[in-house]
């Protein structure tokens, strides 16, 4: 009975959190799917998104959600920049090269970030009210974040399936060589995809900043979660990433009802490896 109450209390909350997990993972999985690059700079980009919200709210004194659109645009440009500088040259090289290239970007951002921002926590003291539903408290910030995530997911879906550049992205993801033969400018499309992936990461960071205090290292945890989600939902599958995020959020709500909270990472990563072994293409990926 006690467990049931706990479940009722924690589950909705976990699901709401799952939306932003999913958004972050969508960025990772988009880049993975289109160009087969695991972006190890994902975490620091999420952290930069967090700091952008801090800047908007605490320095400019604006509503944190007003920052989402400019942060998204900056994220897009930043991603294109990273692609041009660090990724483009190694896009056709073996896996290790792109992994290490994005990891160097990770080191550069974290190093500069620590020097400029320290690793002490920053806090966006923004409270968007809360909704009491029986034993569960739904926080306003999380409800809004879930809504923004849905907007971005819908937007991404529309972009990928209804617009010309979006269709090009899917074509390149499917078969880059063939897409090039058909006259699709693959370099531009790859840069755009990397930009979009970075944008999603930055936006997710911007939203997470309204939940939790953070520092420049905070993105690392979400990067790892994005891996887990990517595998859950199928790497390269943005919609799967959203579902993967929801599943992960749910797990984080369910596990503490039965076990000590510190078991969460054990189970999360154990599950991650298990799914990789059984269904490397993810729960929602096509079975090969």
């Amino acid at each position: 009975m006690q467990q049931f109450n706990l479940l009722l209390a924690s589950l909705p909350d976990g699901i709401l959190l799952g939306f932003v997990y999913g958004l972050a993972a969508m960025g990772l999985t988009l880049i993975w799917g289109v160009m087969n690059v695991i972006n190890l700079a994902h975490g620091p980009i999420i952290a930069l998104g967090m700091f952008s919200t801090f800047f908007v709210y605490s320095k400019l004194g604006l509503n944190p959600y007003l920052g989402v659109v400019p942060i998204a645009l900056l994220g897009l440009l930043f991603g294109i920049l990273i692609y041009a500088v660090a990724v483009h040259r190694v896009i056709n090289a073996p896996h290790l090269s792109s992994l290490l290239a994005t990891f160097s970007v990770n080191m550069i951002i974290i190093g500069l970030g620590t020097a400029a921002l320290t690793t002490s926590p920053y806090n966006v003291d923004f409270f968007a009210g809360s909704l009491q539903l029986g034993s569960t408290t739904l926080l306003g910030t999380r409800l809004i974040a879930a809504f923004v995530t849905l907007l971005f997911t819908g937007g991404l879906y529309f972009f990928l399936y209804r617009t010309r550049p979006g269709k090009h992205i899917r074509a390149v993801a499917n078969n880059r060589a063939a897409a090039e033969l058909m006259g699709i400018p693959s370099t531009r499309i790859l840069a755009l995809s990397f930009g979009l992936g970075t944008m999603l990461a930055a936006v997710s960071g911007a939203l997470i900043a309204t939940f939790f205090p953070f520092n420049i290292l905070s993105g690392g945890g979400y990067e790892l979660k994005s891996f887990v989600i990517g595998v859950l939902g199928g790497l390269g599958n943005p919609i799967g990433a959203l579902f993967g995020g929801l599943i992960l959020g749910m797990l984080e709500g369910i596990i503490p009802a039965f076990l000590e909270t510190s078991w969460v990472p054990v189970i999360e990563f154990g599950l991650f490896v298990a799914i990789l072994l059984v269904r490397p293409n993810g729960l929602f990926g096509a079975k090969k």
């Binding site: 924690s10 909350d13 926590p121 409270f127």
Partner: protein
């Protein structure tokens, strides 16, 4: 082929020598005065976390130490009876909050930079690794920010702990609770790491011996950000009091979510985080959260207290320290800053008492030390099985309350004789 090979081999031999020689050797040791001079510069060596997870607290500790050093040098150093004037200089490296290089860097401090005395890095794990180097070289290491007990129970002879040990951290809080609400139901929720676990290990038996009911004991992973499920568990357990926490990042997150989720606890005590001056950035969520503190400016110890206890008073008053610290850093001192200052201060006292900078004499002086400062009492355990463990210092309990102007301030609420305000109990509901 053979010729090529021998050239190659020579090349590698040279390259490795050159690389190896230039990599570490570039930092010059500070000049050491020769024997004929009456001025002696003592080198204090330590690593700190310029980068990495423990950067905040580590920096405050270093600031405190720097302040002390500036002061003692500006005052003309320590005059020994043989006419030597002792001045101090610091040598420091970044340990990245990471154990990988700590031993290498401390060895370098001792053998290359000729450090005479060592200060510990910040955090118990790093200190444990560094202490072996100190022990090996017979160098005295004064530790701050290393409260966990184990490192002092390993048979060392060179460690001297400034902080109240972890296992004692929350005992004064329990004493206070006993007077406030003996029927409180306690939830212990702590970070699953070395320091916090050692605190809890000392806390739980004491709670039970004092007749409290522990309704929940739960650890959370160090990088936890979402405390929602944990808070639901606390609420579900029917706890009225929460004791626990860990370090700054998780503690501040935890406090904020306790507030957002209206956990309805009567009393919250978290480790480390609420003791930091950045904590009120949490706004309303900080109100009523208390912490166990090594030192609080508002309850700083006084010569009168020392006299009453029959102990020797040493060093500046708390206010003098705070003013000087503010002038140096533009920040109010926290207990980490006081800890850093005190590492220097007790070294100064020990050198004066020993009338020498000879390590063995200073060690003997430290072992015999029993003084009272603005930071409180300091006395070290001299038994072989717990050598250097702090036994003279008591923790105070501090709580964030609103002053008359409506600002959040940290008030000392226990022990009663130094308290600056009554405990806010229960924490008012928003």
């Amino acid at each position: 082929m053979n010729r090529k090979l021998s050239i190659l081999v020579t090349f590698f031999a040279l390259a490795s020598l050159v690389l190896a020689a230039c990599a570490p050797g570039s930092v010059e040791a500070p000049p050491v005065a020769d024997g004929s001079d009456t001025e002696k510069t003592v080198v204090i060596g330590f690593t700190s976390s310029l980068t990495g997870a423990q950067e905040v607290s580590s920096k405050r500790q270093v600031n405190g130490l720097t302040l002390w050093m500036n002061q003692v040098n500006a005052a003309g150093g320590i005059h020994l009876s043989d006419g030597t004037v002792v001045k101090f200089t610091a040598q420091t490296y970044d340990d990245e909050s990471n154990k990988e290089r700590v031993q290498e860097l401390y060895t370098r401090l001792i053998t290359e930079d000729n450090a005479d005395f060592l200060i510990s890095p910040y955090s118990s794990g790093l200190t444990a690794a560094a202490s072996i180097i100190a022990e090996q070289n017979g160098k005295i290491m004064i530790t701050a920010g290393a409260a966990e007990d184990d490192a002092y129970k390993t048979g060392n002879t060179s460690l001297f702990q400034l902080y109240t040990p972890g296992s004692q951290y929350l005992l004064s809080t329990v004493d206070m609770l006993k007077t406030l609400d003996p029927s409180a139901r306690v939830a212990i929720v702590h970070e699953n790491d070395k320091f916090s676990t050692s605190v809890v290990e000392g806390l739980k038996p004491y709670l039970e011996s004092q007749g409290f009911e522990v309704v929940l004991e739960e650890g959370y992973a160090s990088d936890t950000t979402d405390f929602g499920p944990v808070i639901n568990k606390i609420v579900e357990s029917g706890a009225t009091v929460l004791l626990g926490g860990g370090h700054y990042p998780d503690g501040s997150t935890f406090a904020r979510q306790l507030y957002e989720r209206k956990a309805g606890l009567k009393f919250i005590s978290l480790l480390v985080a609420p003791a930091d001056s950045k904590f009120p950035e949490l706004g309303e969520a900080a109100l009523g959260v208390s912490t166990s503190s090594q030192w609080e400016l508002s309850a700083t110890h006084t010569p009168e207290e020392a006299a009453a206890l029959g102990k020797e008073w040493y060093g500046p008053s708390g206010q003098e320290f705070a003013d000087a610290y503010l002038a140096l850093t533009g920040d109010k001192p926290t207990y980490h800053a006081a800890g850093g200052y005190l590492t220097g201060l007790i070294l100064q006292k020990a050198i004066e008492a020993a009338d020498s900078v000879d390590p063995d004499k200073v060690r003997a002086a430290l072992e015999a030390l029993d003084i009272f400062t603005f930071y409180g009492g300091i006395k070290f355990d001299t038994r072989a099985e717990a050598h250097g463990l702090q036994i003279g210092h008591e923790m105070v309990v501090a709580q964030w309350q609103r002053n008359d102007a409506g600002e959040l301030v940290r008030q000392v609420i226990w022990p009663a004789n130094v308290a600056t305000a009554a405990p806010l109990y229960p924490i008012p509901m928003p």
